[in-house]
């Protein structure tokens, strides 16, 4: 119980830290914030329930008024802005990512985590985010989707990296990669 709580809090902090560290270069030298990478790792490392709770705790703290989103954003204003769907989608995305990582238990860890990150960390997150955008801007779903397509390549890279990082963590601390424990 204490270990669960501590891991959940630590991964909520990891999502925040990845948003705070300035400019990590992903492949092709493109600097993007790694915050959504943190959400993917919550699922692929902690599994569905704990990973989802870690992301939920992160969102809760943002609502309470901590500047934990990338660029130091936070507070209740985030939930009134058009990108609210993405933030609210974090826990759902982490949960689905963790669930799929476990379902793909027969595949090698890295591959399973990458696939799960694509489906959960991109598919589910974009579903929530685009729905929020379309509601906030009063446009059709397709119109709203058009606005975020530019971010898709970066997120696909992050999903692949999430898989590679999960594999590294699994080799370093196999007992603590709870999605495979």
């Amino acid at each position: 119980m204490e270990r669960d709580l501590s891991l959940i809090a630590m991964f909520a902090a990891l999502i925040a830290a990845l948003g705070l560290i300035p400019q990590i270069t992903l492949a092709f030298g493109v600097p993007i914030t790694a915050q959504s990478l943190g959400v993917m790792l919550c699922g692929t490392v902690l599994g569905a329930r704990r990973g989802g709770l870690a992301a939920l705790l992160f969102v809760f703290l943002v609502a309470l008024g901590l500047p934990l989103l990338s660029g130091g954003r936070g507070g209740l204003g985030v939930f009134a802005s058009p990108t609210a769907g993405f933030v609210l989608g974090f826990p759902v995305a982490a949960f689905v990512t963790g669930w799929i990582t476990r379902r793909l238990g027969r595949l090698p860890v890295g591959l399973a985590a990458s696939l799960a990150s694509v489906l959960g960390g991109i598919g589910v997150l974009y579903l929530c985010g685009i729905t929020g955008l379309s509601l906030a801007l009063g446009r059709s779903w397709a119109d709203a989707a058009l606005l975020v397509t530019a971010f898709l390549p970066g997120d696909v890279i992050k999903a692949v990296l999430a898989g590679m990082l999960t594999l590294t963590l699994y080799r370093a601390r196999p007992r603590l990669v709870l999605s495979r424990a």
Binding site: M1, S6, L7, M10, I24, T25, L37, V45, A80, L137
Partner: protein, 206 residues
């Protein structure tokens, strides 16, 4: 500092957090129920006036936080203008700015501890079913403790990377950062257990 509260003291900081949150919810419902551009213009002006009551520094601090919205305002104005409904674009933009502005005001004038007190009060009825907010409060405290420490470790790892390679840190520093996080979490769990664990202290969160 890990906070978004106002850098200057304003009177609204003494108002009860629950009241501010209830007023914000009410205002948001009304904002999204009305379509009139005149109404939204008045609401936006009123919100600006609220920012102004806190003084120049308070207003500048708050309005700077809203700068990130400009792409959405641009999209709303251009899209609706292309659709031949520029007035609707203006109304939607004003509504967006007012809704975010009011929420920002509440965040700026409410301490984390006061927000948490509202959460505790809202969770009060659940106590009868054995649900306490203690694990949640402990988790919140842990995240506030962990985040700067992890960010610092991340910055050190990035610095070390730069020193070795002469280039910007790559995503590879995330692996040691996550291993650090996992190990620290284990140690903190042990420390929590040693202090009596989650059920060791008072259970009502007070």
């Amino acid at each position: 500092m890990l906070t978004l509260t106002s850098p200057v003291r304003v009177r609204a900081q003494d108002w009860p957090a629950g009241g501010k949150l209830a007023a914000l919810s009410g205002a948001s419902v009304v904002l999204f129920a009305v379509d009139s551009v005149v109404f939204h213009g008045a609401a936006a002006a009123a919100t600006l006036a609220l920012f102004a009551t806190g003084g120049r520094r308070f207003a500048a601090h708050g309005l700077r936080r809203m700068w990130a919205l400009w792409p959405f305002v641009a999209v709303l104005l251009i899209w609706n203008w292309l659709d031949g409904a520029p007035v609707q674009g203006i109304a939607l933009s004003l509504r967006l700015l007012t809704a975010v502005g009011l929420a920002t005001l509440v965040t700026m004038t409410t301490q984390l501890s006061d927000m948490m007190a509202v959460v505790r009060w809202l969770a009060h009825p659940l106590r009868r079913f054995g649900v306490t907010t203690r694990p949640l409060e402990l988790a919140v405290a842990l995240v506030i403790r962990f985040t700067p420490a992890l960010a610092r470790s991340g910055a050190h790892l990035a610095q070390a990377w730069r020193a070795r390679s002469g280039r910007r840190a790559s995503w590879r520093i995330v692996a040691p950062l996550a291993v650090l996080a996992l190990d620290d979490a284990e140690r903190v769990a042990d420390a929590l257990r040693a202090r009596g664990g989650l059920t060791g202290g008072p259970t009502d969160g007070t």
